[in-house]
């Protein structure tokens, strides 16, 4: 009878569902609570570290650097990089004097001076840059590494809660929710095989198609419930830290639903195909992680941008809702179509195969 299998899904899994909803709601709402502390820390950083100790003068095509001389140092090392965090820096000069000159180029350059003591220990003295003074964290966000978490958007800043949550919650939301969903979706099918329930389930006049669809609807509804609750609590949490614009967080979170429907459908398909929890859980995790990695890589490296439309994450553009207030209906349709196709494939495979004893 219609709906019985769906109810059964809730009945046998409600404990796990409840625990997971609590975890997700706490994560979402808790992240917003961190915002005041973190944004404060970021606001304080408005100059390069030790900028007052290194002096720079640009004279046509020569850069003159000078710094405060100290007794403890026998040598000074000047390093430079195109970014303020000096991860890929190279040595420009080594000198025992307290100044040096370097040819000037058009590029933005950051310099750091490190003092070497007679015991060969190295102590940073300070930094300077040819760039306009900028927040190094903002610089960092524009680097390829951080573009992974900003979906390549330059207008994301930690000083606003939308930007903060975009990077710290939305960017890995698919992992937080998707991994668990994949697990329970696979299990909801493979457990019936592995616990040998299929024979009795299909001794009732339940068509195999209906069995899969009812499970799919149960898992979809559970996901929607979880997203709505997370959305509400996130909204309340944003409100409680004194920030405005709560509903945009709710909408952007709940619109991840179609993306998760794809994950549920794919996991169920893998469950039906392999009939093995171990294989199907592994395969569905791999699908999520691989597509996530490709999504990240597509944002990190420009030449890989063509990959993006082949990932699932691409079709949930949370930043478009968070930052621009635009919901992309086209993306919603792509995900719905994909869900439909994968579910149809699952039904096709399940209908034509043996149920192993």
């Amino acid at each position: 009878m219609l709906g019985r299998t769906m109810l059964m899904e809730f009945r046998k899994s409600w404990k796990g569902f409840t625990i997971f909803i609590i975890v997700v709601v706490f994560t979402a709402a808790g992240m917003a609570q961190l915002f005041p502390v973190i944004s404060e820390a970021f606001e304080e950083v408005d100059e390069l570290e030790g900028e007052q100790f290194v002096h720079m003068e640009i004279e046509e095509d020569i850069i003159h650097l000078s710094w405060k001389e100290m007794d403890d140092f026998v040598e000074y090392i000047v390093i430079e990089d195109s970014h303020p965090y000096m991860v890929t820096s190279g040595v420009v000069n080594r000198t025992s004097l307290n100044h040096t000159s370097i040819p000037h180029t058009e590029e933005v350059r950051y310099f750091a001076v490190i003092g070497v003591t007679d015991e060969s220990s190295k102590i940073p003295i300070g930094m300077t840059s040819t760039a306009e003074p900028r927040d190094p964290i903002e610089e960092l966000m524009e680097t390829p590494f951080y573009r992974m978490f900003t979906t390549g958007r330059a207008d994301i800043t930690f000083e606003e809660i939308e930007g903060f949550l975009s990077v710290e919650l939305y960017s890995w939301w698919i992992l937080l929710v998707g991994i668990y969903l994949a697990y329970i979706s696979v299990k909801s099918i493979t457990e019936d095989f592995e616990e040998r329930r299929m024979d009795i389930i299909f001794s009732t006049p339940l068509p195999r198609r209906q069995y899969l669809l009812e499970k799919f609807f149960a898992l979809s509804l559970f996901t929607l419930l979880m997203l709505v609750l997370s959305g509400i609590f996130l909204m309340l949490s944003v409100h409680s830290v004194g920030e405005a614009g709560g509903s945009v967080f709710f909408v952007s979170l709940v619109t991840s639903w179609p993306m998760f429907l794809v994950i549920i459908a794919v996991s169920m398909f893998l469950g039906v195909l392999t009939k093995s929890s171990r294989i199907a859980v592994g395969a569905s995790f791999a699908v999520i992680l691989v597509q996530y990695s490709l999504f990240m890589a597509g944002h990190m490296v420009e030449s890989l941008e063509f990959i993006l439309p082949y990932t699932i994450s691409y079709y949930w553009d949370y930043n478009s809702i968070l930052l621009d207030g635009i919901f992309k209906l086209g993306d919603f349709l792509v995900l719905s179509l994909l869900t439909f196709i994968v579910l149809a494939a699952a039904i096709y495979v399940f209908d034509k195969e043996d149920i192993p004893a």
Binding site: M1, D199, T204, P205
Partner: protein
């Protein structure tokens, strides 16, 4: 017994890759009869049953149940069929009553009176969690779910496995009751005595091929029973020299033989001697296969 065919299996073949599950099987089960399906473990009984129910996809041949194709019309067939699998599991965390109610509602039947009646008969506690039940009690849950929707055809795969002898007798009683109501029952077993006790006819399968289909009475006649007698003073072999007694072996004071008929004569004759002990055993299935063909059983 009516003559309407309920299960009609024609030339059914099921292969698992290159391995033969069942081969060219032909079998008819008639309305209102209890048909036993006998065979050793791994002979293809479960494969036949699960192919009939559409759980397995046939490789060749046809199965019609209630005149409907078992694959095209599987859902409609299942509306009229109860099934006890040979090996099954259910929801370990749920109470027996919850599970049975769910399964009953799937069959479109409302009301729980049949669940109550069957569980009382089999002494099954409906309030316990399925996962906490012993093997025997789990089997009872399987039996209840097979009968509870009051369907026309009941297919049972090794129904008494895990049941103690007392419960087995209750189960046989249930079978007879259902037969009275006009149900058709198709049950597999590897225990000859069980089939003898409750079935009207028996089909015997071995190595995926049907060996024989026979009325239970003629099967019994052809099969005979093993008679063992311990005499106080030993006995001469020639006193057993009569129609219906074969394979007589004397070992000291013990005589062993197979009796297919004339049991009455044998007892009368040996009663002139002093007897210490006497036993009459139904064959095991293996013994049946060993002796059946030598006794002229025909396919």
């Amino acid at each position: 017994m009516g003559k309407n065919i309920v299960i009609d299996i024609k030339d059914l073949t099921k292969m698992y890759g290159d391995v033969v599950g069942i081969k060219n099987l032909d079998l008819k089960v008639y309305d209102g009869e209890i048909m036993g399906f006998l065979g050793p473990n791994g002979s293809g009984k479960t494969t036949t049953i699960r192919t009939c129910l559409g759980l397995l996809k046939k490789t060749g041949g046809d199965v019609n149940i209630f005149g409907m194709d078992s694959h095209e019309d599987s859902v409609n067939i299942r509306k009229r069929t109860g099934y006890l699998p040979g090996d099954f599991g259910l929801y370990n965390d749920l109470k027996v009553m919850t599970i049975l109610r769910y399964l009953l509602s799937q069959s479109g039947v409302s009301g729980e009176s049949s669940i109550k009646r069957l569980s009382e008969l089999l002494e099954l506690d409906l309030k316990r969690r399925y996962g906490d039940l012993s093997k025997g009690n789990r089997q009872k849950v399987g039996i209840v779910q097979a009968f509870m929707a009051d369907q026309d055809l009941i297919i049972l795969d090794e129904p008494t496995s895990g049941l103690d002898p007392l419960m087995q007798q209750k189960f046989y009683g249930l079978l007879r009751e259902e037969k009275e109501k006009g149900k058709t029952i198709f049950m597999s077993s590897h225990i000859l005595a069980e089939v003898e006790e409750v079935c009207d006819r028996a089909a015997i399968i071995r190595g995926g091929e049907l060996q024989v289909v026979e009325d239970i009475h003629s099967l019994k006649e052809k099969m005979g029973k093993k008679l063992v007698i311990d005499f106080e003073n030993g006995v001469e072999q020639d006193i057993f020299d009569m129609e219906g007694v074969e394979d007589v072996k004397i070992d000291g004071r013990t005589a062993t033989m197979i009796v297919t008929s004339n049991l009455d004569e044998v007892i009368k004759k040996v009663s002139q001697q002093n007897i210490i002990n006497m036993s009459l055993e139904t064959f095991s299935l293996d013994q049946l296969f060993l002796t059946y063909y030598s006794r002229g059983g025909n396919r």
